[in-house]
Amino acid sequence: MFEPELLRRVLATALERGGDFAEVYVEDSHALGISLDDDKIERVSAGHDRGVGVRVVVGEATGYAYADDLSETQLLEAARAARAIASSAVPVTVADLRRIPPGYEHQIRIAPESASEREKAELLRRSNAAARAAGPEVRQVSVRYGEARQRVQIANSEGLLVEDERRAVQLNVGVTALRDGRLQTANRARGGQTGLEVFAGEVPEALGREAARVAIELLDAVPAPAGRMPVVITNGWGAVLFHEAVGHGLEADHIVHQSSVYAGRLGQQVANPAVTLVDDATIRNHRGSYRFDDEGTPAQRTVLVDAGTLVGFMSDRKSAAKLGMPCSGNGRRQSFQHLPVPRMSNLCIEPGHATREAIIADTPRGLYVVSIGGGMVEPARGEFVFSVTEAYLIEQGRIGRPVRGATLAGDSFRVLADIDAVADDFALDPGMGNCGKLGQWVPVGVGQPTLRVREMLVGGTG
């Protein structure tokens, strides 16, 4: 990471032809991946990425230049390329840089870089063995271990200087089960911004066994029903549905461009009063957290929907300024190769007072959703659709047969308004989520208690 004096020189170069704002973003990242397939450690790969991005803002326009070289020459070259957007003859003065300390620290007990690749490969072998021992139907097991460490340094012409370190470790087990020519797959994962302590004890075995159990169980799955019905979504990862269906529409760039159903609705009732929705970048050790966002704004917990009322949006500097609101610290980017945009960190629905058991018993017929594969939303219309990777029929208030090939579709407004029961069993997801927007991928987290949506459109063939 660079001395403040050099960064200030880069910023001054960037503003030599005028401009309202300049920023330099320096990144140094290491990644390691190990994968086991077919009983073999097949791929072991490591990468080192480093680079710099310089941004110049002039009115509504942004100039940006990046390069994967951290020499002083390259930093200044990037500053000169970024200022191509500006055309004034009058240079702008850069404030003295003041370093801001982070608001909290993650607790890392066993730093991943302190362990050998051999020890890490052993975690994969243990998951593999446990999954294969789960039943004769297990045909294939793949296990992936991933670790990443991203160090960033951000300085801007207003005098801000921050440094942040983001980490990720992840163990992901995928099992394919085969019976009578029918294949089914299931996955289980664990991870976070933690050290290797997250895989302590029997965690690798448990992930393998659980993925195998579900894949085998899905062999007996019936085709998913088609039509409207109540949907009970389990705690934890289930909240990805709200990340997609609601969260994206609360990102402030969509509000600025009037491309969200939530534009112009601040202060209005947008959900059932049982629903409080927050984005929290300050959850220690969770995957979507950070201490500073990628523009250097300190991370915070932002209430978006308070007991059913829309009270906030997630913003970066640009969208916050346009809306005349304080920046919520949600300006994120995948790497130095990207401009920041408003993104979620960890999106959570707060717990309620019902119990999971009572919610299921109170549902005569419906779908019980345990795992959601992925989803997509059309923010302008508030329409969404999701694939479901693990779900069961609810018949006479009891969880019944597993179903396959289900999708869930609906619109944001109705899904929030239609939440009619919220349990007390809040949980965070296991720490393996990624979110894509405008071609950029960032790690995210979600959390929720078990809850019921009165009615959703289930797409299936049964």
């Binding site: 450690i41 940006y64 294939q140």
Partner: protein, 449 residues
Amino acid sequence: MTALDLCLDLVRRARAAGADEAEAFFGDHTISTIEVRNQAVESLISATQRGVGIRALVGGATGYAYTSDLSPAGLDEVAGIAVRLAREATPDPDRALPETIPLPNQDLEIFDPALPDTPVEQKIDLLRSVERSAHQADPRVKDTDLTRYVDTYGATALANSRGFAHAYQSSFCYALVSVIARAGDESQRGYGYTFAHGLGDLSPVEAGERAAYRAVVTLGGRQVPTQKCAVVMEPEVAAELLGHVAGALSAEAILKGRSMFLGKQGQQVAAPLVTLVDQGNRVGGLGSEPFDGEGVPTGRTELIRAGRLEGWLHNTYTARRLGARSTGNASRPSFRGAPGVGPTNFWLEPGEPSPEQLRAGIKRGLHVVLSKNVGGINAVTGDYSVGASGLWIEDGQVAHPVSQVTIAGTMLEMLKSVVAVGSDLRWIPGTGVIGAPTIVLGEMTVAGG
């Protein structure tokens, strides 16, 4: 040092660090991106991307590492890491570098030498015309969500310890627009794009008009009752399906038992109208390259001929495992990844009828304009389920727009139920470059209200 010299130098360093065999892959590209909104330039991005990846084989096991630090110390470090990581992998005698096959002397026309010197003003003008075309195509187009131009050009080089050492230049550019149409309280987004190797081959007006069409065509859409009916897929919708089919035709998926085509070689897996081809050396193809990600010359492979499953996409490893020859499909998106298996230019052979003729032949069915895949397409189980919007067709005529429905089936049933293939082949970059015309499926489940 040239790109090739750097690769050869890194191969030597990996050998010195203990590798039995080694392969270096180097990419050096210049990228520029422009975004316009309401005709004003919103951002100008310029970039260089340069880095090298090294694959080291030690005792039949493989390690991979990459870096953008091209200093002698950086190269030594990355070579050492690759060798160290190889020692942790399971030895597998089929993991080997390919035999060196001479490259044919053929210009694939994948580099437009005019692109690097094209002034930025010309790119901005083109992008403005994309946005303008979208807005002029229909008065209901009210807002621009995104208008982006990207071009990239540069060198790719590959060298290995078996004597392969080649480099090539390539270029690529595209313009993309996403607009929002509004009518009353309702709004709908639509996108359009144009891709080519050079600026002169882009079609800005068509891209804008396609975006407008997609945004307005389903305005006023409503659900239809859940039922089984015929489905017409526009090329982009069909391409998404074909991309997953291509994934299931990879020998890697077959070897790992993760393909719906497992055990079906030589069988009739699709309607006789269906012929699927992959060809990495198509002149001018957007997915073309002279050699694949491990130095095997690219070629032409028929995967499904008249509905019959003929074979798989192979790289050197999968070919050795299955006793076949590499089809030149070792895929490698950048220096950051070791070679896998993937399509290059992969297409469904077009038929005779125009899209209009196809629609005229539909008695009752859904014409899908936009699909939303959210992971509901599974190339292992073959399950297919996506959100869809489009037009309801009765007796060959548009009855009304449709939105918020899902369409579902299994891909094996869908391939067999192809009853017509259109003439309107379009190329859509994704994983590889997928070519698809409009297709008609005899029956799928449409789930609505």
